[in-house]
């Protein structure tokens, strides 16, 4: 006997509803970005790239875009530059206070961004320094470092210590061993860590609102500002661009990583 409504099909339905709930607003933004009307109506009357064109002529938006890309890029580089050696220390060496230090570096994942935002701001005031690009960068590195650490550590655990020991015994110096063995085996994780850092930095609103100055506003902060004045369809277009970027970059990264990994295992 076959039941029509099994527990399993209910779970499937429930999951589907959650996906609909989550993705409808996003899909709506993308669709409305192509709506030629000033105010969103449904069904759409026509199809146009007009808001995208307008967007590309908006100097402040382009500026914000440039800021976001530069900030994201630097964040990715600094986070991995700090995160990779730290991960190696945590996995390959034993030292006092290791667990404590590791928890401390992972902590920003668990601390609300508002708290982090205010805290760093207060700290910079206490140091009597003005808000600057450097502050923004430091903040974003703090935000993204845990992800780099977690990804690289996970991969390092999987790279047997014997590979490095074999290389050393064959005459490669510690640096040559890193260059020839550890780094190539670690590369997919480093690459993934960089992309995570970039995407998180590129996407961040809450903490960035506290740290950004008028000169170095990022795209999300800009959108937030625009929303306060009016709801321009331009924002839909901008949203669509952001969605495409933040979704496609990790997907591409995943593809590249898998191709890398196939060669190594």
């Amino acid at each position: 006997m076959k039941k029509f409504i099994s527990g399993w099909s209910l779970i499937k339905l429930y999951t589907l509803l959650i996906y609909v709930w989550m993705f409808t607003p996003i899909v709506a933004v993308v669709i409305l970005a192509f709506n030629p009307q000033q105010f969103g109506t449904f069904p759409m009357e026509g199809f146009s790239f007009k808001w995208f064109v307008k967007l590309s002529r908006n100097a402040t938006i382009l500026d914000a875009f440039k800021n976001s890309l530069v900030l994201g890029g630097f964040t990715a580089v600094f986070s991995t530059a700090i995160g990779v050696p730290a991960a190696m220390a945590f996995i390959r060496y034993d030292f006092k206070g290791k667990d404590f230090l590791n928890t401390l570096l992972i902590a920003p994942i668990m601390i609300p961004e508002v708290v982090l935002g205010v805290a760093l701001l207060l700290f910079i005031r206490w140091l009597q320094q003005p808000k600057s690009f450097a502050l923004l960068l430091i903040g974003h590195v703090v935000l993204t470092l845990p992800y780099v650490l977690l990804i690289v550590q996970a991969r390092l655990v999987g790279i047997k210590k014997e590979y490095e020991e074999a290389a050393l015994s064959l005459g490669a110096s510690p640096f040559q061993t890193f260059k020839e063995i550890t780094f190539p085996l670690l590369a997919p994780a480093i690459f993934a860590g960089m992309l995570f850092s970039f995407t998180i930095s590129f996407d961040d609103v809450t903490a960035t609102l506290f740290w950004a100055t008028a000169q170095n506003q990022t795209v999300p902060v800009k959108i937030f500002g625009m929303l306060r004045n009016s709801i321009s369809p331009e924002i839909n277009a901008l949203g669509a661009v952001m969605i495409v970027l933040t979704v496609s970059i990790p997907l591409a990264a995943g593809y590249v990583t898998r191709r890398f990994a196939r060669g190594s295992k």
Binding site: A166, S169, L170, E180, I181, G263, S264
Partner: protein
């Protein structure tokens, strides 16, 4: 011209390794002769791997010195020690081809490019895997990977070849083949080799010298025959092969044979290891294979032989031989391994156990 071989090619002097309060290797002295294959044998945690890793430079000793060719190498970093290392899990670089794996060590030595190719090919031929240079490690079987690891280690012409349980990851049949192969290769190349294992058969079958270790100390060192036949103490006798232990008291001293009294008041002739006096308490060691069984009614006494009478309480058939457990009147159980002649003895059979006093070694207990 044959050069005099250095009897202390590798020398450990008062070497010691502590991890906090745990002592892995206790102030050990050991000499490894040039060109020999020496096994470090012992149960896990006996310090054998730690000793090897200290020689390799992968662990820093907390005391003592290590010499290779008379030169102290304590402070020489691992990559300058010129040692070939073989690991249990092969440790071939997964992202490099077989050729690049084998050529790896040559890159850091002043070897011209043209020679690298020849040397790698020759090394691959030596391990009987020519023509696999273009493949990846994951395309080879475990045994083949270990042979590549061997090629990678010997191609740099190391002073000492270090092997850390290299056969443990292979399955039984392959292990036997690889064991012979390593043995032959070592003899052919004449490279001083230190082989760490917990498998007594590996140690006995391939070594020039066996070093039996326990709790960070050497228990006995010698040729396989010496450690097996003249085990220095209870641990060595017990660890190597199947041994029976009977406690005894020295009764009479002859020249090279002692008469001892067992717990059940019967007496037994034994060959002592070391000096004993009348009244000393001691322990007799008898190898399971050195005793012969016979039916009690076929018993024909021989003057200079030891006889025990007992009943077979258990047996296990192992193909060529059978493992019997014989209970003596005093409730001790002897483990006897005999070849099967006509038909094996059965449980409950009354048998005698015959053993030459030469095979009854008396140890200090």
């Amino acid at each position: 011209m044959t050069q005099e071989k250095n009897p202390a090619f590798v020398r450990f002097q008062g070497i010691e390794k502590r991890y906090g309060k745990v002592v892995a290797v206790k102030k050990m002295d050991l000499e490894i002769p040039e060109g020999a294959l020496v096994t470090l044998l012992g149960p896990s945690g006996c310090g054998k791997t730690t000793l090897l890793r200290m020689l390799a430079g992968l662990e820093t000793p907390t005391g003592g010195d290590i010499f290779i060719k008379g030169k102290r190498i304590n402070d020489t970093p691992i990559h300058k020690r010129n040692l070939g290392m073989i690991f249990q899990n092969y440790a071939l670089f997964p992202h490099k081809s077989i050729f690049d794996n084998v050529a790896f060590g040559l890159k850091y030595r002043a070897v011209p490019k043209s020679e690298i190719k020849d040397k790698v090919e020759k090394a691959l031929e030596t391990v009987r895997l020519p023509g696999v240079g273009n493949r990846n490690p994951s395309q080879l079987s475990g045994g083949q990977q270990q042979r590549i690891a061997l090629a990678r280690a010997i191609v740099i012409e190391p002073d000492v070849l270090l092997m850390d349980e290299p056969l443990s990851a292979l399955d039984e049949n392959l292990r036997e083949d690889m064991r012979r192969e390593i043995d032959n290769l070592q003899a052919e190349l004449g490279v001083t080799t230190i082989f760490v294992t917990h498998d007594q058969r590996e140690a006995l079958s391939m070594s020039d010298k066996v070093v039996v270790m326990k709790d960070g100390l050497v228990q006995q060192e010698g040729t396989p025959e010496e450690v097996y036949n003249n085990s220095a103490n209870h641990f060595v006798a017990d660890f190597l092969g199947h041994s029976n232990f009977l406690s005894a008291v020295v009764e009479e001293k002859h020249n090279d044979v002692l008469k001892v009294r067992l717990d059940d008041k019967s007496s037994c002739l034994v060959s002592p290891v070391g000096n004993f006096e009348k009244g000393d308490k001691a322990e007799i060691v008898i190898r399971a294979q050195k005793m012969k069984l016979g039916y009690q009614d076929e018993h024909s006494p021989e003057e200079d032989m030891n006889f025990f009478h007992g009943t077979i309480v258990d047996r296990s058939y192992m193909g060529g031989e059978v493992s019997y457990f014989v209970e003596l009147p005093g409730k001790q159980v002897l483990h006897v391994i005999n070849f099967v002649k006509r038909s094996p003895y059965r449980r409950g059979d009354d048998v005698y156990v015959k053993v030459d006093p030469f095979h009854c070694r008396l140890l200090q207990s």
